[in-house]
């Protein structure tokens, strides 16, 4: 797309971000509120010689994405909660086999079919623990159409750099909101490609990691006879049934994210320097939170906002630091019955109270609602924080 300033909705911005990131393969199944991404791609892919597949279901969509990633493509699938539930199977396969791709989940009200056309943020823990087994994951939470564009590119780069399926955890409000989006010229966009092996096939060990714990990736058709399996596998990629190999492999898959935490982590601080009450909010909820902080400051309340951009990995060090600094309280505003609040509680280690402002989905918090809690924080003791 031509560089410039556009008036664009979040889903369209996401599609354009994917194209800018080098995505040439998309496999999806239509689902509200994510459908516009694949509609945009269906219109755009002939122009960029991309391959677009509308699959029979989400199980197939993500499986096709895995296959195309091993064919050397940058790949993406798009969905919402019900489809994301179906994708958990190959999400785990992708994490186990270290297959780079991007999964866009535009969150809507759940559980089950829930509120298809309305906002929620109930899939945060699902993106962390939804697939079986122990995993290290990365999930970004955009809070504007501009970030739908920017973070889609970042998600592709992280997927390629660390070889894993990365989740773009958007929500209905951000996806359907139309705002100003700046599309920079191509040379201003950073693109990362997966590492390729620099040894001949007979010396190549497909799952021997380098220092960053990421192994170089040979794809199909490149002469390396790659073998890929979701079974526990050794450095050669062969399945083995023993606990030592399991220990080495799974530890590395988790450490790959844990030890590169500082590189992957992303969050925004707003008026935190002297803040006594810190609001933690992400995605569309962070927009009301920011406004609440602005009004509170006008009222003389020292409030600030910490907005995780990566919910996974979570900015745990920063939360610990703030708690240790002796702030009055954390207020977590999220459109669910409390998911990230547990992370905040864990990281604050009881040094300050953590208040949850839950919302079941259907709409975002109003700034006034958050403001009310900020203004009356002393009236809530720790036993009442979930009221």
């Amino acid at each position: 797309m031509k560089p410039g300033t556009y008036f664009m909705d979040g889903n369209t911005a996401c599609a354009e971000g994917a194209i800018a990131a080098g995505c040439t393969f998309l496999a999806s199944y239509p689902i509200t509120p994510a459908t516009e991404i694949l509609e945009r791609m269906a219109n755009r892919f002939p122009q960029i010689h991309g391959s677009y597949l509308q699959m029979e279901d989400e199980l197939a969509s993500i499986a096709a994405v895995m296959g195309a990633s091993w064919a050397g493509r940058k790949t993406m699938t798009t969905t919402s909660g019900p489809g994301f539930s179906l994708m958990m199977e190959n999400y785990g396969f992708g994490l186990m086999t270290e297959t780079p791709c991007v999964i866009v989940n535009v969150m809507r009200g759940g559980p089950s079919t829930g509120l298809p056309t309305m906002v929620a943020q109930g899939d945060v823990m699902q993106s962390r623990w939804g697939t079986h087994g122990d995993v290290g994951v990365v999930a970004y939470t955009p809070s504007s159409p501009q970030e739908m564009f920017d973070l889609t590119i970042v998600a592709f780069n992280t997927a390629e750099k660390y070889r894993l399926p990365v989740v773009l955890l958007s929500d209905e409000m951000v996806a359907h909101m139309t705002e100003k989006v700046d599309i920079p010229p191509e040379d201003k966009i950073t693109i990362v490609d997966r590492k390729k092996p620099d040894v001949p096939p007979d010396e190549y060990l497909p799952y021997r990691p380098e220092e960053d714990l990421v192994p170089p990736m040979a794809c199909a058709g490149e002469g390396y006879s790659v073998h890929v399996t979701g079974l526990t596998h050794n450095e050669k990629g062969y399945p083995t049934v023993d606990e030592d190999t399991q220990n080495i492999l799974v530890t590395r898959l988790i450490d790959k994210i844990r030890k590169n935490y500082q590189d992957i982590l992303s969050y925004e601080e707003y008026m935190l320097e002297d803040a006594e009450i810190v609001v933690v909010a992400y995605g569309s909820a962070s927009r009301s939170a920011r406004e609440a902080v602005n009004i509170a400051r006008g009222e003389g309340i020292k409030a600030g906002l910490l907005r995780p951009i990566t919910v996974w990995p979570f900015p745990e060090d920063r939360i610990s630091e703030l708690a240790a600094k002796g702030i009055k309280a954390f207020v977590v505003a999220e459109i669910n019955f409390g998911q990230i609040v547990y992370e905040v509680e864990r990281c604050s280690e009881g040094k300050c109270p953590t208040h949850l402002l839950p919302r079941m989905g259907g709409s975002i918090h109003s700034p006034e609602e958050i403001l009310e809690r900020l203004m009356n924080i002393n009236e809530f003791d720790t036993e009442e924080v979930y009221s």
């Binding site: 199980l59 064919a71 049934v241």
Partner: protein, 301 residues
């Protein structure tokens, strides 16, 4: 602890130790196609999978397709383990999803000759929906289905192809579900090439697999195969040889037979042969045409 190591049946180290390189490698004409250090395989004595794999590798060798440009995708189950023994790009994917994975692989890189190698349970129970849609799209790859009438890997449970009266571990008093006629499902869903053989029909199977490797479009080959450990022991076929004799005595070759008429009835005749062989534009061909037309209107970025 050393005891744990000694239980490590499937580790390559263990295999290297058990079979010396001098005595076991370089003896077979298909060695180049196999990851030799992964042999011996895990399949039971009397299993037909070795026959089907051997036939596929001979067909691949005869076709002249370089194994650098061929890929095999498997699902889960005994047949799913085929991918792990091949010295080529091979993918052992999730249960039932070999076909959509292969769809992505083939469309992602059309230069790779792609074959899905999986079992009847993987392809037609958990993966049934993907099968009919890939056939409908006419994506250019081959599906080899080893049909052993049961779930072998988990110990002999009834599946979508188990004959309706058969005793299995999950139908201990006899079955009561109608099985799929796989050839008919494939033909009805749009496959451009459909054939059925048994492990007794090795030469015909090799030729048929060669036809499929050289044909564009969605090709389906069903191979009936013995499973003495899972299915056979309860079906009066306690050894692989018993099933081979059954195949020999009960099969009839009829090329061009109507796929709807070739269902496998208990105790009945098994019709084998090449049932469908027609030419249709593939998914890739049709998409290219449509996208070219779109590019004429939209321009190219």
């Amino acid at each position: 602890m050393s005891i744990r190591k000694s239980r490590n049946w499937f580790s390559p180290d263990y295999m290297d130790h058990r079979i010396s390189k001098e005595t076991s490698f370089g003896l077979h004409p298909l060695d180049d196609y196999l990851k030799k250090q992964r042999i011996p395989h895990i399949w039971c004595p009397g299993c037909g999978l070795g026959v089907v794999l051997g036939a596929f590798l001979r067909a691949l060798k005869n076709s002249g397709i370089s194994y650098d440009k061929a890929a095999v995708v498997s699902g889960i189950g005994c047949t799913g383990r085929v991918a792990g023994y091949l010295n080529m790009d091979s993918f052992h994917t999730t249960h039932g999803r070999a076909i959509p994975f292969a769809t992505g692989l083939k469309i992602g890189n059309p230069d790779i000759t792609t074959t899905v190698f999986s079992g009847d349970g993987d392809l037609f129970a958990i993966g049934g929906n993907h099968f009919i849609h890939a056939a409908r799209r006419n994506v250019d790859f081959n599906v080899i289905c080893v049909n052993n009438f049961n779930y072998g890997m988990t110990g002999g449970q009834a599946g979508p192809t188990t004959p309706s009266d058969a005793n299995t571990t999950t139908t201990p008093f006899g079955g009561f579900e109608q099985p799929f006629n796989l050839s008919s499902v494939a033909a009805g869903s749009g496959a451009v090439y459909v054939s059925r053989w048994t492990t007794y029909h090795v030469d015909a199977m090799i030729k048929s697999m060669g036809d499929a490797l050289n044909k564009r479009g969605f090709c389906f080959i069903e191979v009936l195969s013995p499973c003495p450990t899972g299915y056979g022991r309860k079906a009066g076929q306690k050894t692989g040889l018993d099933t081979m004799k059954y195949f020999k005595e009960n099969s009839r070759i009829e090329n061009g037979a109507d796929p709807a008429s070739v269902s496998i009835e208990p105790g009945g005749e098994i019709v084998v042969g090449r049932f469908v062989d027609r030419d249709e534009p593939t998914y890739q061909d049709k998409r290219w045409q449509v996208f070219e037309r779109a590019r004429d209107t939209l321009g190219v970025e």
